[in-house]
């Protein structure tokens, strides 16, 4: 296996200013429009479109407070290959325990395993 190290002689590539004159810019713009390359960057808004609604405003006024989304803190993806029966077992337990997310089954299983180890019970 090579290390991927290369040694390139790049001395011939020096800074050299590019120049596009006004006429060329107009031609490019027209050709871009004709080719359907019409996309423009959105203008950045200096102020948010709507102000956030505070809890006090929501309760006392006509402006309704939006329901707060419960955050779980689960933001790390976890991909793993399982045997089919293991996979089915996880989903069956999620149904049985009425879990809101598969992650709950894994968390509970880990908790149970940790407790079993703490009690000195055999694992395998």
């Amino acid at each position: 296996m090579t290390s991927g190290k290369i040694s390139l002689d790049l001395d011939e590539f020096k800074p050299q200013p590019v120049k596009i004159d006004a006429d060329s810019r107009a031609q490019i713009r027209e050709a871009s429009d004709n080719a359907g390359f019409t996309g423009r960057h959105a203008v950045t808004k200096t102020k948010p479109i709507s102000q956030p609604v505070s809890a006090e405003q929501g309760e006392g006024s006509e402006v309704k407070r939006r329901g707060r989304k419960r955050t779980t803190g689960r933001d790390v993806p976890f991909t793993v290959k399982l045997r089919r029966d293991t996979n089915n077992q996880i989903y069956d337990l999620a149904d049985q325990l009425e879990c809101a997310a598969i992650a709950e089954v894994i968390e509970m299983a880990l908790q149970a395993l940790t407790e079993k180890i703490a009690r000195g019970e055999p694992i395998r």
Partner: protein
């Protein structure tokens, strides 16, 4: 000089990865490099905020059709390599970048959707070449390719492009965790460790071959 633009109208094709591999690879060789982030999502700017940038590599963000030409003009006078990462859409900034470029790279994955967008981009490059009366070399780059093989749809697409006289880079950018790691860890391939991502050796060989081939294409174009 040179200015290299990386574009296709398709999003998620591997433009930013190719920009980072080329930019950091050239900087490791000692060249002064500027990466221009013309994608409104500013992926390069966000990468640079976390990355331990070498002193000879800079990233310029907030580049739109309003200021892209001035930015390229300014940076091309300062550094040896300017690399422009464009938004994956049919936008005017691409038109301006094409006309300022010495080489255009079009990343392509082996899907019909990618191929259609790459073909659209190539037609646009040809049109801009005629408008500005400047021959602008373009190469299609297989990106996010399987490591061990070329898929049948990839082979079919490659044949069709080549029959239409469109050149591919010989080097394919392989789908690798290490390349994702560059973005995820805000690092360069040289900085990453095997603890962070697997397969670093192969990724470094792949990236080095990519950089080397780009230099060869640029040299060929200068003749």
């Amino acid at each position: 000089m040179p200015v290299i633009s990386i574009m296709t109208t398709k999003g998620g094709a591997g433009k930013t990865t190719a920009t980072l591999l080329l930019g950091t690879g050239l900087a490791e060789q000692g060249a002064d490099v500027c990466l221009i982030d013309a994608d409104p999502n500013q992926p390069l700017v966000r990468w640079a905020e976390e990355a331990n940038l070498p002193s000879n590599l800079s990233v310029v963000g907030s580049v739109t059709e309003e200021n892209i030409i001035e930015t390229i003009e300014e940076q091309s006078a300062k550094v040896s390599f300017v690399i422009v990462d464009l938004e994956g859409s049919a936008n005017l900034s691409s038109g301006y970048a094409i006309s300022s470029s010495d080489l255009i790279l079009i990343p392509l994955q082996a899907s019909k959707l990618d191929a259609n967008e790459a073909a659209k981009t190539l037609k646009f490059i040809l049109r801009q070449s005629k408008t500005t009366n400047k021959n602008i070399p373009a190469r299609v780059l297989w990106s996010r390719a399987p490591a061990a093989y070329q898929t049948r749809s990839g082979r079919d697409m490659g044949t069709q492009f080549e029959e239409a006289g469109i050149s591919f880079l010989n080097t394919r950018i392989v789908e690798r965790e290490a390349f994702k790691g560059v973005v995820n860890f805000g690092a360069t391939l040289a900085d990453l460790t095997e603890d962070q991502v697997p397969g670093l050796d192969k990724a470094r060989v792949n990236a080095a071959a990519f950089v080397k081939e780009i230099i060869e294409v640029l040299r060929e174009a200068r003749k």
